[in-house]
Each structure stands twice: as structure tokens, then as C-alpha cells.
């Protein structure tokens, strides 16, 4: 029997989708149990499995015997507006999830890079936060728990559905940003916020150095923007660099911050955007990172943001770049060779700044790895964790690179 025949016998014809462009069979289990069944079989048969969501973010090109896509895991079993929690399957698109939450007055305050239909599981597995990380923290701060399936088909639950939980080890944080190396996320318990009653965006255009200063002044003034993002001209589709400020929350708080913004910006003229303009601005920014072949993020200390932007400009160019200077986070997209990325990563490591490769064609990410070399003592632990959660090495994930 071929792999496809075995999988069809196991999960039924409904689970078999059109193969990907490299002819790898694409399987879409319809339930978490089906994911466990498939991975358990893959482990026994020695199949190599690559993980996909909607296929809109990480390139679907890793060498594998089959592609497991979570796209049929698209249910939202629970939304609890009173508790501000929700439980969603990993394959639901963020756009659909957002709508279902908004219908109940709730908000998942993340705005990851990528297309609107990017799956929740992909966002969690890659820990790709967007500009809202400034006000609401990284992806892991929005998670109450996850259920995942290991590379040999075990279903494991971590965390729970309540606001605080220290029962057991926090495997949820291991899964957030693990790029699937420790299993396939099938179910996510989310921490929500009330849909903001006021949500406004202001833009300021100018030279990068000037905008950086304005950003620092805003932070020093004690304003609490939901997002404070410095965006390159090409990415913002403007003539010059743009500082985007998003204020979201209760009308009282937003009104107070608007007044503070005017005072803190020292005469700089911020342009308010209409709601649809603001939506388009942030959406374009998110989508801009899913177009070019390579996207990575780096995380330094806030005071090093300027230096890091200069370094990126010098080594790779700064045409497609977005930064949250106060959070020390920078995201870059474009085209880059293996050599240049490895050189940049080495330089950054010397500055104690990690580079996480978010997207790249397989030849590049296979060589460079999502993480590259680790800090002292970490390598054996990561290897041990991988052996624990994927003892047969079924899951094809380029963690360290070759």
C-alpha cells in the first residue's frame, strides 16, 4: 500500500486534499483524535511529516512523506465573553475567529504578520506577534493553555481555561514559538479582552531618527498605546518612514491618551486615520511580511533599536522593515542568502540579540534554521525535548539548521 492508500484507509477520503506542488500528499485530519491517529501511524511507519496551517505563512516545501494540514480543525468550541476566554481549534483562520469573537463583544488582541486567513495554530507555533505586542505583549501572553499531539501520536494538554494557572509545568510556553518541533497544536485556550470601545490610529511621517525620538517621547510621557510601530516607507507605502500609533481601550482612556499624544509629540503633526484607513494600514503592514521569500525577527533591548536598525540597513537593507522600538522588536522581510543571514546572526549573537527566522524557502531555512545556534547549555536540552516529544523524528522542522 502507498502512504496515500494507508492514510485514506485510516482517516477516510475526506481527509485527503489535493497534493501540494511538490506532489507530497496533503492530509487534513478532521479532529484532534485524527491528528493523533495519523501521527501515531507516521511514527510507526517511519514517515516524515511536515506541518501546515492554511499554507499562507511558512512555505510548504519541507521534504516530507506527507503534509499534515490543520485546516479542517476550524471549530470554536467555546467563547465565554463574561470570562473573557475562548477555546478554538488550531486550524481556524484568524479572520474567522476575530469575527466570531467580535460577535460576542470579545477581542483577541493580536495582529500577527501574514494574510487574514492565517491559522491560529500557525500564529501560536511561530509566536509571531505584530505591532499590538507593544501594548498587549507577545503571543504567549494571550494563551491560557494548549492541547497538542506529539510526533508519535500522543495527545497532551497543558494549562487550562482560567486566567491564572500554575498547575504542572508550562508546556504551553514551550509550544508557543516551538515551530512545531514539539508537536502539532490542535486546540488553543485563549485569553481575551473586551472589544475596545474606542480604537484610533494616528500616523506621523518623517525621517527615521526623528520618528524614533518622537516614539521615545511618547513612551516617556507615560502614554500606553496599543501599538507604537516604526514602519519603512516601502512597507507603509508612503514617501517617508511612518510612526503608527494605535490607541485602543475605554473611551475615557483613549481620550486621555489622545490629549497626551498631542502634548508629547512636541508639535509634530500626527494624522488621524478614519476607521477604514486604519484597518487598511495595519492590514497592509501585516500582509507585507507574507509576500517576500524571507522574514525574520530580532529582539534586542529598547535602547539598541537604532543601532540594530542601522545594522540591518548595512547588512541587508531596510526597505521592508517594521520595528517596535520600545519593545526592542524588529521584523525584516526581503530576499537574503544563506551566507548573509548566517553572518548577520553571528553579528547579532555578539550583541546578545537572537534572530528568529520566521519564513524562508526550505533550502535556506534548512541551512540556517529557525533559531541557529543556542546559548550556553541550551542545545542538549532542546535536543532532549525534541526526542521526548518526537522520538522517531517524524516532524520535519528546521530548528537549528544544518
Amino acid at each position: 500500500m502507498t502512504i496515500l492508500e494507508k492514510v485514506t484507509a485510516l482517516l477516510g477520503e475526506g481527509a485527503v486534499l489535493e497534493p501540494s506542488t511538490d506532489r507530497v500528499p496533503r492530509i487534513a485530519p478532521g479532529s484532534p483524535d485524527a491528528v493523533a491517529l495519523l501521527l501515531g501511524t507516521a511514527h510507526q511507519e517511519g514517515w516524515r511529516v511536515r506541518i501546515e496551517g492554511a499554507g499562507t505563512w511558512l512555505q510548504s516545501d519541507a521534504p516530507a512523506d506527507l503534509a499534515l494540514t490543520t485546516r479542517r480543525l476550524d471549530r470554536v468550541p467555546a467563547v465565554e465573553p463574561a470570562d473573557l476566554t475562548a477555546t478554538a481549534e488550531a486550524g481556524i483562520g484568524l479572520d474567522q475567529l476575530r469575527q466570531q469573537l467580535a460577535d460576542r463583544g470579545a477581542w483577541l488582541s493580536i495582529d500577527p504578520p501574514g494574510l487574514a486567513g492565517r491559522t491560529l495554530g500557525s500564529i501560536v507555533a511561530t509566536a509571531t506577534a505584530g505591532p499590538l505586542r507593544h501594548g498587549f505583549g507577545p503571543i504567549k501572553d494571550h494563551l491560557l493553555g494548549v492541547t497538542f499531539v506529539t510526533g508519535d501520536g500522543r495527545m497532551v494538554q497543558s494549562g487550562g481555561r482560567v486566567m491564572k494557572n500554575v498547575a504542572g509545568y508550562d508546556l504551553t510556553r514551550l509550544q508557543a514559538g516551538g515551530f512545531g518541533a514539539f508537536g502539532v497544536i490542535v486546540l488553543v485556550h485563549l485569553r481575551l479582552r473586551t472589544l475596545p470601545r474606542a480604537d484610533v490610529t494616528y500616523l506621523l511621517e518623517g525621517a527615521r531618527e526623528d520618528l524614533t525620538q518622537v516614539g521615545e517621547d511618547i513612551a516617556a510621557a507615560g502614554l500606553t498605546p496599543a501599538a507604537l510601530e516604526l514602519v519603512s516607507p516601502a512597507l507603509a507605502r508612503r514617501e517617508r518612514w511612518v510612526l503608527g500609533v494605535r490607541l485602543a481601550g475605554s473611551p475615557a482612556l483613549v481620550a486621555a491618551d489622545e490629549a497626551g499624544l498631542r502634548a508629547a509629540s512636541g508639535g509634530a503633526r500626527f494624522t488621524p486615520l478614519r476607521a477604514e484607513e486604519a484597518h487598511a494600514f495595519w492590514m497592509r503592514l501585516a500582509e507585507g511580511f507574507a509576500v517576500r521569500p524571507v522574514t525574520f525577527r530580532i529582539g534586542g533591548v529598547p535602547s539598541a533599536s537604532d543601532e540594530l536598525l542601522d545594522l540591518l540597513q548595512h547588512q541587508l537593507g531596510d526597505e521592508w522593515i517594521s520595528a517596535s522600538p520600545a519593545a526592542g522588536a524588529i521584523r525584516w522581510t526581503g530576499d537574503a542568502s544563506i551566507d548573509r543571514l548566517q553572518r548577520l546572526r553571528r553579528t547579532l549573537a555578539g550583541l546578545e540579540v537572537p534572530l528568529t527566522l520566521e519564513r524562508a524557502p526550505w533550502p535556506l531555512r534548512g541551512a540556517v534554521g529557525h533559531f541557529g545556534a543556542y546559548r550556553e547549555g541550551v542545545g542538549p536540552l532542546v535536543a532532549g525535548l525534541r526526542r521526548t516529544f518526537d522520538p522517531g523524528g517524524a516532524l520535519v522542522v528546521a530548528t537549528e539548521g544544518s
Binding site: N165, R173, G222
Partner: protein, 490 residues
Amino acid sequence: MSPSLASDLASIVGQRHVREARAERVTYAMDGLPTHRRLPDLVVLPGTREELIAVVRLLAAHGVPFVPRGAGTGLSGGALADEGSVLIVLTRLNRILKMDAGNRAAIVEPGVVNAKLSAAARPHGLQYAPDPSSQSACTIGGNVAENAGGPHCLKYGVTANHVLALEVLLADGTVVESGSPGGEPWGPDLVGLFVGSEGNFGIATKITVRLTPLPRAVRTMLADFNGLRTAGEAVSAIIAAGIVPAALEMMDQSCIAAVEDSVYAAGYPRDAAAVLLVELDGRNEAGVIAETEAVAELLRKSGARSVRIAASEAERERLWQGRKKAFGAMGRLSRDLVVQDAVVPRSALPQVLETICTIAKRYDLVVSNVFHAGDGNLHPNISFDATDPALKQRVEAASAEIMSTCIAAGGTITGEHGVGIDKLRYMPLIFDPESLGAMQAVRRVFDPKERVNPGKVIPVHACREWTSARSDSGWVNPGAVPRGEPVRAL
């Protein structure tokens, strides 16, 4: 344990920092929970990172289990060491190694006291936000091990949200660097995995924490209610309005009475069935004022008899003192106190509180509730006399029933105190054998011989079938570890 171990340890840390005498070791036989006692064979107090590393490597060479301990304020028996184990007390590692005000971060040793870090940050306009009630004594290392919370974690997050990087010493003496100064995980998020691991993965020797700007405006208000249910409903109303207070704490009548009878009297109305202490803060005075007015209105609409806004810093401090010292005030009620820690969905608070009252009545026990209502993090406290075996039995039965109630409501068994040995028996109620086995396997990646803080967090017997069924794949059955029996006589 080798007879020469004590002298070998003394050669590293100095004779006066090794405790061998029983009378000295008894000092370390309990933590903040009076229902568990364990006597370590030896207690050692290293004074530097290098001494600590040498101690751990010596213990590794001897194959001796050890337990790291901070100030011993934990409430789950997590820092207790059995016979045959060495207790490593970290309170002498109490230096703030770096205060980086520009980047709002600090690097500290594990024995730095929580409140002292905030005090050191204050001149820079910063604070360390997690503020457990024991913050005047508890250490950052202990906070990391337990993923400690506190009243202001509703807005600012728990310890895990404030740890950027860690230097960790594994049980075999290996030093591991995880995270990065900016907080971006360097590879998989091992910092996130380590925080809250209750010492089972090793000892955090250097901790880089995020500091938070001090609020420029603070408003604290006290609302009192005729019923626990209405107070619980007021909590839901505030959260549903999209307002995130800095803190949202509730105390019931029994707790109010204990506080008002003590030196910590805060002026809480004695006839109230419950009070809510609500604090709003921010960097923008106008925004805080506007939200304070909105919350006051919500409280009144939800049935508050009165809403009092602290008119001065002194009044605010007094209101908070009553809350933060409530556990101490309960010492007036009886000689022993079980501090429980469970979390329920916020919307379930009113029903769960009523059920806890019913349980208390049925077992004829005094249960006082003081808790983080905004998070749904309950602390039902049972006052009792542990020398009365029958009473102790009733306390244990009532505790178990309270836990079952919280789990049935969709909650969990601990929100900030940890599992330790106290909650071991409840773990199988919220995790299946597969998940417990996964946790056990992760622990063995960090500590294959399970020598650091053995017998805590994971009830190994509960994942036995699972591990033996999968012994081919590296998930190992580590053998039986005793259940956390409530009290062991010294």
C-alpha cells in the same frame, strides 16, 4: 549520605553556613503552610554563585538529592526537603547585579527579596510589578520557581510575564543560559518553561526581570456589599465594561472581622458580607480619574452599599495593609491556617463562593475568603487547630471538596502557590495520565535522575500505566514517589 558530605560542603561555603544540628534543621522543616513538615539531613547556605555551583556539583558527584529554597514563604510545601536530601538555601545570594533603568530591566540573584527589588527600582521611576502578599520576605528566585502572582497581577501579569532571561544551574552542575536581555526567546521558550517549574528543572542563578514604570496616578476604592453573590457580580460587571483595574480584591465577612480585630485594622465595615478593594492606576491622570468614576458607578449599580475612594496616600496604604496582612490577621482565629489556592472562571465566582460557604457549614469550619477576584483566583482559608486529629481530618475533607467544586466549575487547583506536595493528589483530577507523563518526561530532560526537589509537582503513580506502555520511546517510568501526605511527625 556520605558522612564526609557536611565537611565537604563546609569547605565550600564555610562551617557556619552548613547546618547539621537537628535544632537548626528544624527551622527549615516547614514553609508557609503548616500542614507539611519534612526534616532535611543537611542545610547549606552558599553565599556566591560560584559557591552554589560548587555545592551542586558536589551533590551531583555524591548522587544526593537536593531542594532549593528561598525565604520559605511558599504555600504548597514545595521547598521542603526529605530525609536523605540537602536543602540549599539561597537567601545569601541577594545581590542586585544590574539596574538597567534605560531598558527597564534588572539582573538579580535568586535570593533578592521581592520588595527590595521594587525599592531599588523606585528612584528610577520603576517597579517590579508582581507583588505577592509575602513580598516583604519572599525572594525573586522563589517567585520564579512558583510563577508567583499577587494583587496587581490582574493588570500587570504574573512572574512569567516579567522574566526576560535566566541563567540556570542544572542538577548535574551544568550552567544554561536561556532567553535574551530583550526578552525574545533564544530558540524555544525555555524561560517560559522554567518559570513555575517549582525547582524541578534546576536553580535560577541569575534572573533578568522586566521593570515597569511606576504609575503616575493611582485611585483606590473600597466597596462593601450585603452578599458575596452581589460582590461577585460586581466583579463581572467591571471586567465586562472593558476596564482592567490594577487590582480587584475581595474579602468576606470572616476575613473582614479578622482584619478589623487585628493591628492591621483598615476600617472595613464589619457588617458587610463582602468588600471589594479596587485599584486603578496609569500614567495618565485624566484617564485614571475617568475610569475610577466609571468603576464607582458600576459598583453602585451592582449593589454596593457604599463606595469609598481613598482620599490620601495614608488612607490608601491603610486599605491595602488590611488586605496584604489578612493572612497574618487570621492568626488570631486559631493556631493553624490552611491557605487554599484555586482558580475558577470569573463568572462562576458567585456560585462557587456560595458552595464554599455551604461546605464550611457542613464541616463546621471557619473558612475566610480573601482573594484576587479579578482573576477568579480564590484563597479560601481554613482556620483550625492541627493538634486536634478529628478537626484536621475535617479540614482535609473540606479542602478536597472545595477543590472538587472549583474543578467542576471549570477551574484549576492552583493559580499562584504551586503544586508542591500539597496539591499532588489533585493533579490527576485536572490532567490525564498522558499529560502528566509528558510533564514527567520533560522534567527528566532537565534532571534525568530527578535529584532536584524530588517528589514535587507530578504524582508519578498517576502516569505509571502510560509510561510503561510507551517505554520504547524515551518516556520513562521513573518509579513511585510518595503521595504528599498532609503531616509527617518530626
